[in-house]
Subunit: 310 residues, 2 copies
DNA sequence: GGGTATCTCTGACTGAGTCAAGTATCGGAC
DNA sequence: GTCCGATACTTGACTCAGTCAGAGATACCC
């Protein structure tokens, strides 16, 4: 089913790329491959012919001929590489740079006109989708890819917490809308009245996209903090993200002077439980209840914050 | 900036497609174009040579030659079209169908192995991103594309309402987190306790993606309903979506017996105001207030539901 | 019925890309 | 030093995808 989608997309995008070059005017008077060589020459810091071949997967003979033509047209100069006289150092002449710039501009224009036909409101979505595909389908050298950062919530992030909590627990455990209501209430309470020194929310971000969260608020008991709404997206699991989030809460709670950190969870949430255990939480009470359309067993966990042995 | 992104994506995706066919084994013993012809023949209901030419933008002579080869290999049969003897009806022989199936399977396998290298959690995101790109970049014949449906909220949709309200009003009017808290509270109240006969939320969906919402709840005054949280995503504006959402609320409120429909909004929200006016709401009160980090002018609007002239 | 456009086919061609052979050099083994 | 296999590049010969122009047959319009 997803294979179908990908193939459909491939067919579709092949057409998009094809349409961009309708009538070959895009690369004239060069071929696509020649243009790629020019582009590479203009953008790569230093280039031997062998690098070009490797980068663009070109046949050695073919490349040699292309460079012949470029040399005749005065676009490039060939010199032996200093280190290895077998290799040839290729460099663009000013004229070659002009040619590359021209192609570059033409490409930019063409893509720009394509973009012009996209509703402004869709542009961000388009860029977003393209970035997602690149992130997922390799291209690991995207800047900052794979790096997780914790940050404070921005506009919409609290809503995101509600949305993802509800959607995930509905999908994974079949919880109903009551749970969404509960999360919305927790979030509403936090948004409308919280002491920024003693209460905080963290959003974990991976590739510019929220993938996890946790909240720390004052509990009814004095000097007690409560950890709530720990969540890690399935796509970001296995990165130790849950540990980092819980750690952030513990450090924060200890730092601002709480004596104790408590949390309430349910026994079905095994992965979360293991995280709590790793960080020294102990189970102090367990009670069955019926909530969110399911029969569950609620658990209270505690962690003393002053020293480790107190 | 976005043009850059698109070009980077094009280069990237050209490589992806190229890598899928590494070594031409994918289409052997046919060429890419021949494979496209086979694919088209296997999937199009009825095909004259002219249709193929149009669909695949092929040169007439080239196609003729390809069909020659296919006929020699026993993959297709050529017969004159009934309606127009100039045209040729092309049909796959069983052997041709086998060949098409083989190619199909090989493509599916190749894509499948690509997909195999994608983390399972990322697959849905990938499919989603691809669908977005197709939706945005044309391909209008995607099934159901461009069609807006109103539906009841599913898991996560209430959270979506919070998220989008907060993010949009922050971006467009600079409202702060108080607004997100207010929306979260409204949503929480609805989720935790509402009478499904008298209170309801609608989600507007475009291409499988929520793009708008509105809520109808009981007001403090008896027999009065309140319209809240009307929102249309920028990308979906201009489709009359706001009208449809407001209409849904009015119809519902009238249908279940409310006498009056009221709403509170702010004068900066001009587009929304025009929608309310179009549906007969009248402004009954205006009051400045300071909320969401801004100085605003709140407005109360009323609509009588029993008959139009009462 | 005449003129024009459309559909298909074929011959002749262009030009992108491949393959293989040849020259020059490197780097390691002896 | 020199022999050997590997690597870098070049060139000639080739394949084959795709284009163009012309010809024969037929449809459509007046």
């Amino acid at each position: 089913m997803t294979v179908q989608d990908i193939r459909a997309f491939n067919r579709f995008y092949t057409n998009v790329i094809g349409a961009l070059d309708y009538g070959r005017h895009l690369y004239a008077p060069y071929t696509l491959t020649e243009s790629r060589v020019l582009y590479e020459l203009a953008h790569a810091p230093r280039t031997d012919a062998a690098d070009l071949r490797a980068e663009l997967s070109l046949d050695a003979g073919y490349l040699s001929r292309i460079l012949n033509k470029f040399e005749q047209d005065g676009l490039v100069e060939r010199a032996p590489s200093e280190k290895d006289p077998r290799r040839r150092r290729i460099s663009l002449t000013p004229r070659g740079r002009d040619a590359a710039d021209l192609l570059d501009e033409r490409a930019r224009e063409t893509v720009g006109s394509l973009l012009g036909s996209v509703a402004p409101g869709d542009r961000a979505r388009l860029a977003d989708a393209m970035r997602s595909i690149r992130d997922i389908l390799g291209d690991g050298h995207a800047p900052g890819a794979g790096e997780v950062v914790l940050r404070e919530p921005g506009p919409g992030d609290l809503g995101w917490i509600v949305q993802r909590n509800a959607a995930l627990y509905a999908a994974e455990y079949g919880w109903n809308t009551d749970y969404e209501g509960l999360v919305a209430r927790i979030v509403a309470d936090f948004a409308q009245d919280h002491d920024p020194h003693l209460e905080r929310v963290w959003i974990a971000e991976l590739n510019q996209r929220p993938v996890g969260c946790v909240m720390c608020v004052r509990d009814d008991t004095p000097a007690t903090a409560r950890l709530r709404l720990l969540l890690v997206e399935p796509e970001a699991r296995g990165l130790g993200l849950g540990d980092r989030l819980v750690e952030a809460v513990i450090d924060f709670a200890r730092g601002v002077g709480y004596r104790e950190l408590v949390l309430w969870t349910n026994d079905v949430l095994g992965a979360a439980r293991r995280i709590y255990q790793r960080h020294g939480f102990v189970l102090v009470a367990e009670k069955p209840h019926r909530s969110f359309g399911k029969d569950l067993v609620g658990q209270d966990w505690h962690l003393h914050l002053r020293g480790s042995g107190e």
